[in-house]
């Protein structure tokens, strides 16, 4: 059995890697169980591994590629002694300390655990989807909207986040078509009113996207009328999927208090979970801001919270 660690960090997006940098610099020699390569957004490096240019991360005036930014985070954590395990935690037991985590049959134990497994965008699961992400197909209007100045784009979804994205994108795009498979929105009244009164936003009701057009970049989509079954093509250079996010919290069910929406419940203004010694940071506990910079900030909080907690235990 591997030796007990002071700190294990599960997940390696901006939150987990910032927690790794801070806890490594505090001489806690953290082990980061960073996840396994995949194409579904719970991979090492997190959601930024599926983006191209990151232009809103402070400190990079010319912007930086998402994967490169995450490689920098990782190198910085490694430089201060963080260890990495490129595998995925399959099970946890936080009922007693030291806390236990499993990767397959192998057990890892730690005095403190920082959970930063992130969230994934719910996608449409259509052919060619993955290749087009970052090339016209996006799940982050704040990140990519800028690239669609004076172009015609679409937003898929009918909730608050879809309305927020459509409204935000109307600042850049010449026209935004909201594609929704029902004839009414799920979004809150205020978000609906805002979208309805926006002259650049059109609605395509009762339609769903059935395919993407374009190989290396998105050139259009095919939509189907859910009532008549009739299909038609729309020429679009950008399509934003806003049908929701899903936190990567499956392995924590029954172990940590989760909110109704599945996100980890943390005490306000901290990274503390309901279990003393287990901390959560980044998108796995944040359904409001969801930015790399806020994730990194909360990762720093978790590392400091863990460090102080460990000091209290030993003192």
């Amino acid at each position: 059995m591997p030796e007990n660690r002071q700190v294990i960090i599960i997940g390696s997006g901006p939150a987990g890697l910032t927690a790794a940098i801070y806890s490594a610099r505090a001489n806690l020699s953290p082990l980061v169980i960073e996840g396994e390569p995949s194409s579904t957004s719970d991979q090492p490096g997190g959601q930024l591994m599926l983006t191209t240019d990151v232009e809103n991360y402070p400190g990079f005036p010319e912007g930086i590629m998402g994967p490169e930014l995450m490689q920098n985070f990782r190198s910085q954590a490694e430089r201060f002694g963080a260890d990495f395990l490129t595998q995925k935690v399959t099970r946890v037991d936080f009922s007693s300390n030291p806390f236990q985590m499993w990767v397959g049959e192998t057990t890892y134990t730690a005095d403190a655990v920082i959970v930063s497994t992130g969230a994934r965008s719910v996608m449409l699961n259509l052919p060619n989807e993955f290749e087009l992400v970052g090339h016209g197909l996006s799940t982050c209007a704040t990140c990519d909207g800028f690239f669609f100045r004076d172009q015609e784009i679409g937003v898929v979804g009918g909730g608050d986040s879809a309305m927020e994205e459509a409204t935000f994108l109307s600042r850049f795009a010449s026209k935004v078509t909201v594609i929704h498979r029902r004839d009414e929105l799920r979004a809150s009244k205020i978000m609906q009113d805002r979208a309805f009164s926006n002259p650049k936003i059109d609605f395509l009701w009762n339609h769903e996207v059935t395919s993407y057009k374009g190989e290396s970049k998105l050139e259009g989509i095919t939509v189907k009328d859910v009532n008549s079954g009739q299909e038609k093509d729309l020429a679009l250079s950008g399509l934003f999927i806003a049908i929701g996010h899903k936190p990567n919290t499956d392995i924590f069910q029954g172990q940590l208090d989760l909110l109704e929406n599945g996100y980890i419940s943390t005490q306000s203004d901290s990274s503390l979970t309901n279990i003393s010694g287990v901390f959560a940071c980044g998108d796995v506990q944040d359904f409001t801001y969801r930015q790399a910079i806020t994730a990194a900030g909360s990762g720093c909080m978790a590392a400091i919270d863990a460090e102080r907690w460990l000091e209290d235990q030993s003192g």
Partner: protein
Amino acid sequence: MSEAITILSTTTFDEVIGGSDNPVLVDFWAEWCGPCKMIAPILEEIAVEQGEKIKIAKLNVDEAADIARRFEVMSIPTLIVFDNGVPTKRIVGAKGKAALIEDLEEYL
């Protein structure tokens, strides 16, 4: 980049694929593809560990779009194994080393 991995281009692709006694795994990748970068170190390990049984090669799809089109690569990373110059296996999307080894078992 490890010397164990063969870098392919539009001009060398057919020669390398057709001229190899061992099966050749071609990694269709691009600079802007995060998951491609994730699996790159895994492929280097496999190249070092299994190099006598399978040749590991990489093709940048930005530089060799024609070849990517020829094999209808619509998503990267895509790994295609060529046996005697003929594609016999296709793996789309990044995955961990254990899963990849399992997928390639018939060649190892």
